[in-house]
């Protein structure tokens, strides 16, 4: 030990060298990316992402760069953005985002690159070809921040062996569901989780003539129409639904219908293939597809861009990220993917009957009708969507567990009104 002598100067040099090395290594991650740096895509584990992954070699050849695609669940993806982008991470280039859930918040945080000049400056990309509702949701404060790639509407899944024709109205749906409910069969199954059910309930809300907010931006969930929609949905699941419905999201509700234990099920049209897959479904011969039934205000389902792609504002490969978006959401690829059963957002693809050939005929017709009647949002359009959904979903839960909806809705209405005032303040950016 005594052989190792360390004077003050040497000690200082060592410390300085250590600090310098640490600083250099920190700066290194912000340097210019080399040709071996992959283009990194963060995406949801979805049929769209799987179809894209299969086609990646074609794109890699075009740009001469490797592409790395990370697939996560929706919750994991949101948490990953929260953690990484709070640290201004550069290891995400292309981000799959839910325009209605995250875009406003990400825009406020400055996490999404402005694509306005890119989408409008490329005639071949044909930005005007995107359906109006999804296109509008891609624009925040006049800037295009994402490009829609997957659209979604609700579909009524029903058992053709139990009813001669699908119910055309919500009243008929309720009547049939109650009639068919027995010890061995649930008349209806659907999402019942406080937050998870809000998006599917939105179509009921619109069809009863309500909306989450009023024209002047106040709370709409205390209106008579909204209370009627809460009461209807709660009663449907309470009287005709499975036990434990308040713990049910897509993952719990879908298998119940697929296993032949429910007569009706309303959920996203994108999940139809689960009922045709013999490894999951026992009802592939009996399942029927129908448009969203009409309520007192008509049939008003949502028609939303469920998933979009944007570019991380901290990305060092923005040019290649844009080339990816050009490639994957261009007219040719959207047509190709829609023909493979993944509904996109381009009007030209929807106008081409060949792109709907992959869907069962009844479903294709239902999607076309729902898209024509569709409303462009399925949740409150606010910054803090998570808290808004928790507030809006509370009366739903009350209805499902058999409580009187009106007082809970009145309480939620007051809470939502306060929330909207606070959220509006946060929108000043």
């Amino acid at each position: 030990m005594s052989d190792i002598q360390l004077n003050r100067r040497a000690f200082g040099r060592l410390l300085a060298a250590g600090a310098g090395a640490a600083a250099l290594s920190a700066c290194g991650s912000r340097g210019t990316p080399g040709p071996d740096t992959p283009l990194r895509i963060s995406a949801i584990n979805h049929v769209w992402s799987q179809a894209v992954r299969q086609r990646l070699p074609e794109f890699e050849e075009t740009i001469g760069r490797r592409v790395s695609m990370q697939l996560l669940t929706a919750d994991q993806l949101a948490s990953s953005y929260n953690v990484k982008l709070n640290a201004s991470a550069t290891d995400i280039d292309v981000m799959m985002v839910r325009a209605l859930q995250e875009q406003l918040l990400f825009a406020r945080n400055g996490w999404l690159a402005d694509l306005t000049g890119l989408v409008e400056g490329d005639a071949a990309f044909d930005w005007a070809d995107f359906q109006e509702a999804p296109r509008d949701r891609s624009i925040t404060r006049g800037k295009v921040l994402s490009v829609p790639v997957v659209t979604e509407r609700p579909a009524l899944y029903y058992r053709k062996d139990l009813v001669s024709s699908p119910p055309a109205t919500l009243d008929a749906l309720r009547e049939e569901a109650f009639r068919l409910t027995s010890r061995d069969l649930f008349g209806y199954v659907g999402r019942g989780q406080r937050s998870g059910a809000v998006t599917q309930w939105s179509s009921f809300l619109y069809s009863f003539g309500g909306d989450f907010t009023t024209a002047d931006g106040g709370s709409g969930i205390g209106s008579p129409e909204a209370v009627a929609a809460y009461r209807f949905y709660g009663e449907l699941l309470d009287r005709a639904g499975p036990p434990g419905a308040t713990n049910m999201s897509l993952e719990q509700a879908m298998p119940i219908f697929a296993q032949g234990k429910a007569a009706f099920y309303i959920d996203a049209d994108a999940i139809y293939s689960n009922f045709l897959d013999p490894t999951i479904s026992t009802v592939r011969e009996q399942v029927g597809f129908a448009p969203f039934p009409a309520g007192p205000a008509g049939s008003k389902p949502h028609n939303i861009p469920s998933w979009s792609v944007g570019i991380n504002a901290f990305s060092l490969l923005r040019d290649d990220a844009w080339r990816f978006i050009q490639w994957i959401s261009g007219p040719r690829m959207v047509t190709e993917l829609q023909a493979a059963g993944i509904p996109g957002a381009r009007a030209s693809a929807w106008a081409d009957p060949a792109t709907l050939a992959a869907f069962p005929a009844e479903l294709a017709e239902s999607m076309r009708i729902n898209a024509a009647n569709g409303i462009g949002h399925d949740r409150p359009e606010v910054i803090q969507v998570g808290r808004a959904r928790d507030i809006v979903g509370r009366p739903l839960v009350a209805g499902i567990i058999g409580q009187d909806v009106a007082p809970v809705a009145a309480e939620a209405h007051a809470e939502f009104a306060d929330f909207l005032v606070r959220d509006n303040r946060q929108q000043e950016f």
Binding site: S2, L6, N7, L105, R108, R194, N247, I383
Partner: protein, 295 residues
């Protein structure tokens, strides 16, 4: 101080530097940053706070009777309920396994199984078993003539069911810790009590338990702190917010929701600071109790 001593002291600091750097970077910095964040109005992004809010986050949290205080109560209820049952069962199992018997190794290995699985896997496993419609639990109950239960689908049953799952997973750990404590106890006092005519209960109450007290309190502190922090199994089975009526939302789940679902980083940090103080308080209380009992 001679030149050698100074050089020696610097070398000592240099050798300690990596460990100190690690502690500073990975423990002290996050703690201080959380404390700093708890006094800001950071919303949306951690660096989006406009300045110090004068402790408003703490006032908001402590004045929140809808989410914060119910979460505190559930944290206490879950921890006390689960740990008390685990301790009693663990002690009973340890007493049963204390004397050698045929197949002892197999029994001890089987006891380890719940400990080896990850909480998320356990959560999903129990979610499938207890599914009200397709789960095997209701099929078995049906065969016994018991009406189907909602289990984790029920607002009122969820927390007790999750406590029982925690008991299922962590009782073996308590048993193993207490078994290790029992194996260190001398046999003579118990033999002497037996010769003097003490009953089994008297030997347990007056001879074994006092000897085991230190091990018991250590196991209790370890398990209590762990139970207070339970998150994964609650989140895996009930999702964000601890269920549709926040029925299993403990402080940990609440803080997670504030961070990742609501992006209210300032308030989330304040809740975490309060939660940390709460845990430290519980540990100090249990250790003081243990010292008093030993003295």
């Amino acid at each position: 101080m001679s030149g050698f001593d100074r050089s020696h002291r610097r070398l000592r600091w240099l050798m300690l530097a990596p460990a100190l750097g690690f502690v500073g970077l990975m423990i002290i910095f996050p703690l201080l940053f959380t404390l700093h964040l708890s006094f800001t109005d950071a919303f949306g992004a951690v660096n989006a706070g406009k300045g110090y809010d004068g402790g408003q986050n703490y006032l908001d949290a402590l004045g929140d009777g809808r989410r914060f205080w119910p979460a505190v109560w559930r944290t206490v209820y879950f921890t006390v309920g689960a740990v008390v049952i685990e301790t009693i069962l663990g002690l009973a199992i340890a007493m049963l396994l204390r004397k050698p018997f045929r197949g002892m190794r197999v029994v001890r290995s089987v006891l380890m199984v719940p400990l080896l699985a990850t909480p998320v896997a356990i959560g999903i496993l129990w979610l499938l078993i207890l599914d009200p419609t397709n789960g095997i639990a209701n099929h078995l109950l049906g065969a016994l003539g018991v009406p189907p239960q909602e289990f984790l689908g029920s607002v009122s049953q969820s927390l007790p069911v999750l406590m029982l799952i925690d008991v299922w997973q962590w009782t073996p750990m308590m048993a193993l810790l207490l078994l290790a404590g029992l194996s260190t106890l001398p046999e003579e006092p118990e033999e002497a009590a037996r010769v003097d005519g003490a009953t089994s209960w008297q030997r347990f109450r007056h001879v074994i338990l006092p000897g085991l007290w230190t091990t018991l309190m250590t196991a209790l502190v370890l398990r209590a702190v762990d139970a207070l922090k339970t998150f994964d199994i609650l989140y895996a089975t009930k999702g964000p917010g601890g269920g549709s009526d926040f029925e299993v939302e403990t402080l940990n789940v609440y803080a997670y929701g504030l961070t990742f679902d609501y992006q209210e980083y300032g308030l989330a940090a304040a809740v975490l600071v309060l939660f940390t103080l709460f845990i430290v308080g519980v540990v100090v209380l249990l250790r003081r109790r243990s010292r008093e009992a030993s003295a």
